[in-house]
């Protein structure tokens, strides 16, 4: 290794250039390369096993330390299940009713039931800046890139890369990604990004100046996206401010999904109706527009 020791500065320079080239090449790719896939396929089962062991131990530990709270929680959960059962039967009736009326009006089901696949989070980004995590299912379970990921009734993010037995998910509280969104009550359209200044919150930008959005309004995904299906809850507005430079409004949004305690997620397998457009072109134009 003398040669390496003697020429380390040249080596370092060459390696830096390789890193730069890699960065430039990898920003516009949509599938992991063969090499990445191999590393991921080999490492993720190990990570999954260790994570399972770790969460088993911590769950036991928690069970010992807060038995009382667990009993209380159990009670309240039982009550909630009763309520939900009641709601469910009522909603089933409503759905039936709705289907009948839709049939009368000749409208095809707009909000068809989501076809979902449960997955466990096995590893999270080691850094403190980004929010990227890995789930334990990949192309072997029929997942592909750009499927929406939800948890606890709220949008979590989308699958960025899909390997054989793992997928990399980029969450919506990450500024690297943007979601086309709409306010449920007023119908205002904008797009939601992560906000690094307010950790764990999102920002909805480019809302029309005349909009009457207020605090507490529910934000859902709009139907304009070629990635996210329509009608997934994103979160609630906590604050609205005017962005003077662009004469638009910006809303601060608390996400509905609990990002601090994510352990399992649901992957929505439905693709939105706009997905038949050439995907590469649409995403590139949107990223340019969002700047």
């Amino acid at each position: 290794m003398n040669f390496f020791d003697n020429h380390k500065r040249i080596f370092f320079l060459i390696l830096s250039l390789i890193c730069l080239a890699l960065a430039g090449w990898s920003t516009h790719r949509f599938a992991p390369s063969f090499f990445e896939k191999t590393v991921g396929t080999v490492l993720t089962p190990i990570a999954g096993g260790i994570n399972k062991a770790g969460s088993f131990v911590s769950a036991r530990f928690k069970a010992i330390t807060n038995t009382n709270s667990i009993i209380d929680e159990n009670e309240s959960l039982k009550e909630e299940i009763e309520k939900l059962k009641l709601d469910n039967s009522r909603l089933a009736l409503l759905e039936q009713d709705n289907a009948d009326l839709m049939g009368l009006l000749n409208i095809q089901g707009k909000y068809s039931a989501f076809d979902t696949e449960g997955a466990r989070i096995i590893a999270k980004d080691p850094g403190n800046w980004y929010d990227v995590f890995i789930i334990d299912k990949g192309t072997n379970n029929g997942l592909t890139e750009n499927m929406a990921v939800v948890s606890g009734g709220g949008l979590v993010g989308r699958i960025k890369e899909c390997g054989f037995n793992y997928s990399k998910v980029v969450s919506i509280i990450d500024d690297a990604d943007a979601v086309s969104a709409t306010a449920m009550r007023t119908g205002d359209v904008g797009y939601v990004k992560g906000d690094y200044y307010n950790n764990g919150m999102c920002r909805m930008e480019l809302i029309d100046m005349s909009s009457k959005m207020a605090e507490g309004d529910e934000i859902i995904t709009s139907g304009f996206s070629s990635v996210y299906p329509e009608g997934i809850v994103i979160g609630r507005v906590t604050e609205i401010e005017n962005a003077d430079k662009t004469s638009t409004k910006t809303a601060l949004i608390a996400p509905a999904a609990d990002f601090k305690h994510l352990s399992s997620v649901l992957v929505v397998k439905n693709t939105p109706k706009n997905a038949e457009y050439n995907f590469d072109e649409t995403t590139e134009t949107t990223t340019e527009a969002e700047g």
Partner: protein, 170 residues
């Protein structure tokens, strides 16, 4: 032999760091153990080893988690090289000195990472991140490094004795 051990160390680290250490997060902040290992190896073994260690650690982190490749590889290799310069100058058995170097490297890492990623997204105010992210990470990482440096030291000592290499510690 040496390089295989470094690779295994990097793999071992990334698996533990992304699974078990996640549950040790305090106010959502995790210690950067990859950085500690890179700094320790560079400090104990010199520049070339530091660069190799940094490349391995950064490569794994980039492959598995980054949105684009190459960024962490570059930063860790740079840190490995810079910390490798301290290799000849300082006494390796000191307790506080490695901690100071880790602290410096962590600030360096945060600054470069911020410049290469967050600043280019339009977040210009570094001071807004200082209190919620950079400082807690710094403190946590330095505390953890007090233990991890010892472990890396034992591993490298074992390697050096076994190979009876160019440098003996005692």
């Amino acid at each position: 032999m040496k390089y295989i051990v470094y690779t295994l160390l990097a793999i071992f680290n990334i698996i533990l760091q992304t699974t078990i250490f996640e549950s040790f997060a305090i106010i959502g902040i995790k210690p950067n153990t990859a950085l500690i290992i890179v700094v320790s190896v560079a400090f104990i073994q010199g520049e070339a080893d530091g660069i190799f260690m940094g490349l391995m650690a950064g490569f794994l982190q980039d492959t598995l988690f980054s949105v684009y490749l190459g960024c962490n590889m570059f930063i860790y290799a740079l840190i490995g090289m810079v910390c490798g310069y301290c290799f000849k100058a300082f006494f390796k058995e000191s307790f506080l000195l490695p901690l100071a170097i880790v602290a410096g490297a962590d600030i360096f890492y945060s600054l470069i990472y911020f410049t290469l990623n967050i600043l280019l997204m339009g977040y210009s105010n570094f001071l807004a991140f200082l209190l919620p992210k950079v400082l807690p990470e710094l403190v946590y990482t330095v505390l953890i490094s007090a233990f991890l440096y010892r472990i890396v030291y034992i591993i490298t000592e074992f390697l050096n004795n076994r190979k009876s290499s160019r440098r003996r510690l005692f």
